[in-house]
């Protein structure tokens, strides 16, 4: 999704109203309860919260020129990988096997077999259509952020096709966008 993302894709940035700001905070807090105590630090009430609209209905939540969260249309907010690396505990985790890493890093969606094989691991409670962190076998940090296409149980039972949509992965356009101004 962010494969070819660059700052040129930002079609408009605006500082959002306080009410919208509150809504975004609430959404993020609902999605990631562990992050809630940190939100004051991350999204200070004083400093302006900027929402950058990009192509393909992507919104980026930007604080101090650093993109922190993104979402698609009205979907759930997802942290950027840099943020997730700092707070790895906030998201549900899926793990892919070693063979899948290079495809994921090229932007491929995560196929079920990569999650169900020996190197993979699933968080059983994840329903369909929810954001997950994609970890990798033998690695400590997340390599992608995905959006489940089916629930974890379905992934196990069907074991075929796309299990998780790859939203954001290491070295994609968003990853390379350290600052947005």
């Amino acid at each position: 999704m962010f494969k070819k993302f660059s700052s040129e894709e930002v079609t408009g940035q605006n500082q959002v109203k306080a009410s919208v700001q509150r809504k975004i905070r609430q959404n993020i807090a609902d999605e990631y309860p562990d992050l809630e105590p940190l939100l004051d630090e991350m999204l200070p009430k004083k400093s302006p919260l900027i929402v950058a609209k990009c192509q393909n209905h992507i919104n980026l939540v930007v604080v101090n020129n650093v993109p922190l969260f993104f979402n698609v249309r009205d979907g759930p907010y997802m942290p950027t990988l840099r943020l997730l690396h700092q707070y790895p505990g906030i998201m549900k985790k899926f793990r892919v096997d070693r063979g899948a890493i290079k495809f994921v890093l090229a932007g491929a969606n995560i196929m079920c077999p990569g999650l169900t094989s020996a190197g993979g691991n699933l968080d059983e409670e994840v329903p369909a259509d929810s954001p997950v962190a994609i970890m990798a076998e033998g690695k400590e940090h997340a390599l992608a952020i995905g959006y489940t296409k089916m629930s974890a149980k379905d992934i196990k039972s069907i074991n075929k096709g796309i299990g998780v949509d790859n939203m954001h992965y290491l070295n994609d356009g968003l990853w390379k966008t350290l600052h947005l101004d």
């Binding site: 505990g89 890093l105 940090h141 070295n171």
Partner: protein, 201 residues
């Protein structure tokens, strides 16, 4: 869980920007290696081993010291074949470096267009001073020719450059070569998509 989470410090590789443990999947793994050996030896023990082996080999005089610690990547991952292909790259890399340095020494004019507010842009001309051209005069001439604002601005690293309002890429080359005969066309470069492109191509 109301416990405040502490941010985890992640070691990022400066070469490929990914966390060090993912370097092996980077297309530039070869370039990462020397950094990895220094900064994250525990992640890739076999690399360190290789480097040590290589140094030992060199001491023994078994290898001809052509490539300076280009770090061979033998069997560091599951695909030795691919590694083989990459291995030949260091020679090319070295070459590139040399030409880059040459370019740095040669006086050249670099023209760059920066887009702001979508449709408005500024053309930045760097390096005219290297040809002994007075920048203030040059900016006046440019302003007159293109009927727009042109100013001398202190750019990054204290080098002075000329900012001209508007997109004047289309005939900047002609103008420069006509006005200042000392500037050859071959010394003018455009920056397109972050790459340097010669203007006379």
């Amino acid at each position: 869980m109301a416990v405040k989470l502490q941010p985890v410090q992640v070691l990022y590789c400066p070469v490929c920007s990914m966390p060090a443990e993912y370097c092996e999947f980077s297309p530039e793994f070869e370039k990462c290696k020397s950094w990895l050996i220094k900064n994250a030896p525990d992640l890739y023990p076999q690399l360190v081993q290789e480097a040590a082996d290589k140094a030992a080999e060199k001491l023994d005089g078994l290898t001809v010291g052509g490539e300076e610690d280009g770090v061979k990547g033998e069997g560091s991952s599951s695909e030795p074949k691919k590694e083989d292909e990459v291995k030949r790259l260091p020679g090319g890399k070295v070459k590139k470096k040399v030409t880059f340095e040459d370019m740095q020494e040669k006086p050249e004019v670099v023209v760059e267009k920066i887009v702001r507010n979508k449709r408005k842009c500024v053309t930045i001309i760097k390096g005219l001073d290297m040809f002994g051209i007075k920048l203030s005069e040059a900016s006046k001439k440019l302003g007159k020719k293109f009927a727009s604002g042109a100013s001398v601005v202190k750019g990054p690293t204290d080098k002075e450059q000329i900012d001209v309002q508007g997109d004047i890429m289309y005939d900047i080359v002609e103008f420069i070569t006509d006005t200042w005969k000392s500037v050859p066309e071959s010394a003018i470069y455009f920056i397109e998509d972050g790459r340097k492109v010669s203007a006379n191509a």
